[in-house]
């Protein structure tokens, strides 16, 4: 939707699932390289703080959020290079949130991605500061993105701030921790709301930040926003199911951790069978929202939904870790 450009065909024909796996791997490798290059070097003072940041960010991960950034970029006619800073920013925010969530005062988790959590390796104080520093880095990279239209960068950065604050990730994490508390719910808990905030808003920002960077017109942005929100919900339902059905090795952390934390999840609330049905419903809703968003698109109005975003939606639904 970048003015004067048309939607690029990323491959000469619709990617097969196997080809899409390759594309996901390419994006993942691109992201690892970009993050490794952008993070402060671990031989520069303060070395141990930098080490803790690199350890937390470069420890693997599925990089689903940055893949969403790249897939959306293809859809709106931006290159991967033009959104790399945004992709890095989103992954840095995600890493920061995991470091803080894992802290003893929060979830007190010992394993993440198959390795000891940041505070287990570097200490609690360094983990708090490493998280803080990663958040600052995220904004630094996004805000120094070179673009002809500064107001677009500004809009994308404001979106990231909103998605990660009280009305987004941090608010959701608070509600998740205190989901049993009478303080906030009078006993009840709106699970969908918690997850929309905790996970959904950052997943959503991976799509909407790119639309804003592309200067997409309002109707398209609104339609894609609906898709992005549903995708966040889908991601979380599947996450809850995998926490029960996944193996420790595949998850990189002990399965069943939600139950041990007394968390309200789709599985604890509805049982595994109903949770699977809800995931299927959410997957259909996300695909439908995407089709609608595509028809609101300016670059290819009425055209078919963007292949890569369809495929990533399917991938989020069918993933096993």
């Amino acid at each position: 939707m970048k003015e004067g450009s048309t939607r690029r065909a990323p491959t000469s024909q619709p990617a097969t699932p196997a080809a899409f796996e390759d594309l996901l791997n390419d994006w993942r490798e691109r992201m690892e390289r970009a993050l490794a290059a952008r993070l402060p070097a671990s031989d520069v003072v303060p070395t141990r703080l930098h080490e803790a940041m690199r350890y937390s960010v470069l420890g693997g991960g599925k990089r689903i959020r940055s893949a969403l950034v790249f897939a959306t970029a293809l859809t709106v006619g931006l290159t991967e290079g033009e959104v790399e800073a945004a992709a890095c920013a989103i992954e840095l925010v995600h890493a920061y949130s995991l470091v803080h969530d894992d802290l003893p005062a929060m979830d007190d988790d010992e394993l993440r991605r198959g390795r000891p959590t940041c505070h287990r390796v570097f200490g609690e104080d360094v983990a708090i500061l490493a998280g803080d520093a990663l958040y600052a880095e995220a904004f630094r990279h996004l805000l120094t993105l070179q673009q002809d239209e500064p107001e677009r960068v500004l809009a994308a950065a404001a979106e990231l701030a909103l998605a990660t604050g009280v009305n987004g990730m941090v608010g959701g994490q608070y509600l998740d921790v205190y989901s049993n508390s009478a303080h906030e719910h009078g006993g009840g808990v709106d699970l969908r709301r918690v997850h929309e905030l905790k996970t959904g808003r950052l997943i959503g920002a991976s799509v909407t930040c790119v639309l804003l960077l592309a200067g997409a017109p309002e109707p398209a942005t609104i339609a894609f926003r609906r898709f992005a929100a549903e995708l966040g919900v889908l991601f979380q339902i599947v996450d809850d199911i995998l926490d029960v059905t996944g193996t420790d090795a595949a998850l990189g952390k002990p399965s069943g951790s939600d139950e041990r934390h007394g968390r309200h999840t789709y599985v604890s609330e509805f049982g595994i069978k109903r949770a699977r049905e809800l995931a299927a419903d959410s997957h259909s809703a996300a695909r439908a929202a995407l089709a609608q968003a595509a028809s609101a698109s300016v670059s290819a109005p009425g055209g078919p939904p963007p292949t890569e975003l369809e495929q990533i939606t399917d991938f989020i639904y069918t993933r096993s870790s």
Copy 2:
């Protein structure tokens, strides 16, 4: 230095110290009102998180950083209204840094501004999240500032990100905590460097963000940057002296806390007498840098240094709490 405007005379004649105290009080009250209005309401879910944020931000404080924002605005021909979002952003960042610094895993402080610290009232998990949320709020307010020149807002926000990350506040806090550690210093510690990062960069950003919002030309920005850096050092030396000489009531926390934390301070390194001399030197250096910055100013080249910035420099030097 805003194009087409000249430096406004904020008062009809140079403010006397008493009049300046009044101005400081006006700014402080303006800031309290602005922050109270901008922070999420404590009767909105998640209520307790919002309460913790409001408790941490609205608990008084000298508001020196926002006063610097307003004083710089007068100097470059911006109104207080035009920089209010930036002033709020800086105070929110400052509050977030205090909440995280006070945590048990960090300084483990129980009192701040004469009241129990955030984690003592709301718990450690809420304090971590409240800090995170305040940081997000800071960016949200700055990034949604309405201005004709979006690239100026972008530059100011990037400056804030830089000033608060590894090359600024967080890096400085890490070095301060680990200033005894062989990891980073081989035993030695560059005190000026630690404080430049931990305190100086945010004090400096209170000046430079405004210059960037005003679109000040590069030479003026560079000259004011030197002033701002020295002001940060002056602030910290005086802080170290007050920690030893101040009363608990005036400080709002037990005096002598630096010594109990085994902190390297200007007093522990050089003794109180030499620290006072260093403060006097730094004050002179800051005043000289300000005079030079004023002569590089475009709006009133060769003119006298801006009165309010002179007075705030004196205030930082002579303050008793």
